[in-house]
């Protein structure tokens, strides 16, 4: 294993050690996605009651797919920020920042942990959706992987922006880790098309990769066609936002080293 890969694995292993001996933490990861799915799954069932096909049944399916896919963004974001906060809470950042671990490797490790957490969180919900609502998330085929990736990347850049805020404002900005992604939800158009938003809000929604993913998802479910234009727009926006988030992260990390915030970040 190369030096960089070993350092990244070292930090991933640190989080794996915590989860492998703490079942409450594992339950907590899966709790909210499962709860969300149950609420929206039964709502979808109610809305499509008596309809075995047609728009009502498809709307129910889109609702369940939306819940599951939006959870990817939320879990990916929380996976990164929670793991970073874990280092703050355990007062371990001082040791990490004076080790040979590069900031980019720190980020890579946090992203890897978020992938693990996202799957742990989503897998029970995906299985329940299949068993309870007969909804197979993977039925549309490999194109779903592209949707997954776009949403995962969006969760990551939102998380990087939040970690940057933690560098700037310290643990006092902790509440943002739990609320920012939820605040984006109305503009991500998870359950309704962008056109249903007021005109002045539509540019905000269109600037988010998620709104394009969900437009594409609805096209796939309702019209059985892959809308590559929406996918391309989502991917391009993700690249732009991710580059911006990396720049903000690098800038705030540098400013934290100037201000001495790395020493007192937990206070």
């Amino acid at each position: 294993m190369s030096g960089a890969a070993r350092r990244i694995w070292g930090l991933v292993y640190r989080h794996v050690c915590v989860y492998r001996r703490s079942w409450p933490r594992l339950v907590e990861i899966a709790y909210w996605p499962t709860l969300e799915l149950l609420i929206w799954g039964f709502t979808a069932n109610f809305l499509s009651q008596g309809f075995h096909a047609g728009p009502a049944a498809l709307t129910g399916t889109a609702l369940i797919a939306g819940v599951l896919l939006w959870e990817i963004v939320l879990r990916a974001q929380i996976g990164v920020t929670f793991s970073f906060l874990e280092e703050i809470w355990s007062r371990n950042l001082g040791h990490l920042f004076v080790s040979p671990l590069r900031p980019a490797e720190l980020v890579a490790a946090l992203l890897a942990v978020s992938v693990i957490r996202t799957w742990i969180g989503l897998l029970p919900a995906i299985i329940i959706a299949f068993l309870l609502y007969h909804y197979d998330l993977f039925a549309p085929g490999p194109v779903m992987v592209l949707f997954f990736l776009n949403l995962l990347v969006m969760g990551w850049w939102v998380a990087l922006a939040i970690v940057s805020l933690l560098f700037r404002y310290g643990a006092g900005a902790e509440a943002l880790a739990w609320t920012i992604a939820f605040g984006i939800t109305p503009f991500a158009c998870v359950f309704y098309p962008v056109s249903s938003l007021p005109g002045w809000l539509q540019p905000v929604a269109l600037a988010l990769p998620a709104s394009h993913v969900f437009e594409g998802l609805r096209a796939l479910l309702l019209h059985a066609r892959v809308d590559w234009a929406q996918f391309t727009a989502a991917a391009a926006l993700n690249v732009v936002w991710a580059l911006a988030a990396c720049a903000v992260f690098a800038g705030e990390f540098h400013r934290a080293r100037v201000r001495g915030a790395l020493i007192s970040i937990g206070e």
Binding site: R7, G94, F97
Partner: protein
């Protein structure tokens, strides 16, 4: 051969000048004591030496690497211990050492952990969560972490804080042996003046961010006409003029 060279180091915050024109060198195989009262600038200096804090001016060369440009090459050959920075409490001692062994790319990690467990009397604690240990045991684990990569430059902040006299003496002996065996350089910040007298070849007395005086402990004791370093420390700390 220098392990550490500091040139005209300054750290200026909006409200305070924390370190003011600090220069010194630390040769390989030597132990330098960094002394001073609270707020003298020791922690700020150590943070800059470790690359965690950027200086406002001045340069730091650690093991030949310019810390402003190439700090990771130096950090891989350095290490640090402080009782004020914790290790993850939910991980066992062994897991903590494994994590840092990976971060420092330590070869034959299992064997190295075994050696350090023996050196710092941690064998019976390896599988206990770090958070369940006493303050003294945590200090020993932090020291084991600091020795993992066999550092050529070791920065120690209060290395024997919380240790009982027996363990404190044991650790001081371990530091002397490590320096003798490896030729490592050690920078030691301590408020334990007996420890400073025993271990340090030279001390820097800091006050208000500046060097108030420097020299070998015996030379300082003679210069101030005192009986020990404790009295020298008190004299410098209570004397207003630098």
């Amino acid at each position: 051969m220098e392990a550490l060279r500091v040139e005209h180091l300054v750290k200026r915050y909006p409200q305070a000048l924390a370190v003011d024109d600090l220069s010194f060198t630390l040769a390989r195989g030597r132990i330098l004591g960094l002394l001073g009262g609270n707020g003298a600038g020791k922690t700020t200096t150590i943070s800059m030496l470790l690359g965690m804090l950027l200086p406002s001016a001045g340069r730091i060369f650690a093991l030949g690497h310019d810390m402003a440009r190439d700090r990771f090459a130096a950090l891989a050959r350095m290490n640090f211990s402080s009782p004020y920075i914790a290790l993850p409490a939910r991980l066992s001692v062994r897991e903590n050492l494994q994590v840092y062994g990976h971060l420092y790319n330590v070869a034959r990690l299992g064997r190295r952990i075994g050696e350090l467990a023996e050196r710092f009397r941690l064998a019976g604690l390896l599988d206990r969560p770090a958070g369940d240990l006493s303050a003294g045991q945590k200090t020993r684990v932090a020291l084991a972490k600091a020795f993992l990569n066999q550092p050529e430059l070791l920065l120690l902040d209060e290395p024997t804080a919380s240790l009982d006299p027996d363990m404190g003496d044991y650790v001081r002996t371990a530091l002397e042996e490590y320096r003798r065996e490896t030729g490592a350089a050690i920078l030691l910040a301590s408020h334990n003046m007996a420890e400073v007298e025993r271990l340090c070849d030279e001390v820097l007395m800091m006050k208000q961010g500046r060097v108030a005086d420097r020299g070998a402990p015996a030379a300082l004791i003679a210069r101030y006409g005192r009986d020990n370093m404790e009295e020298v420390f008190l004299h410098i700390a209570r004397n207003e003029a630098l």
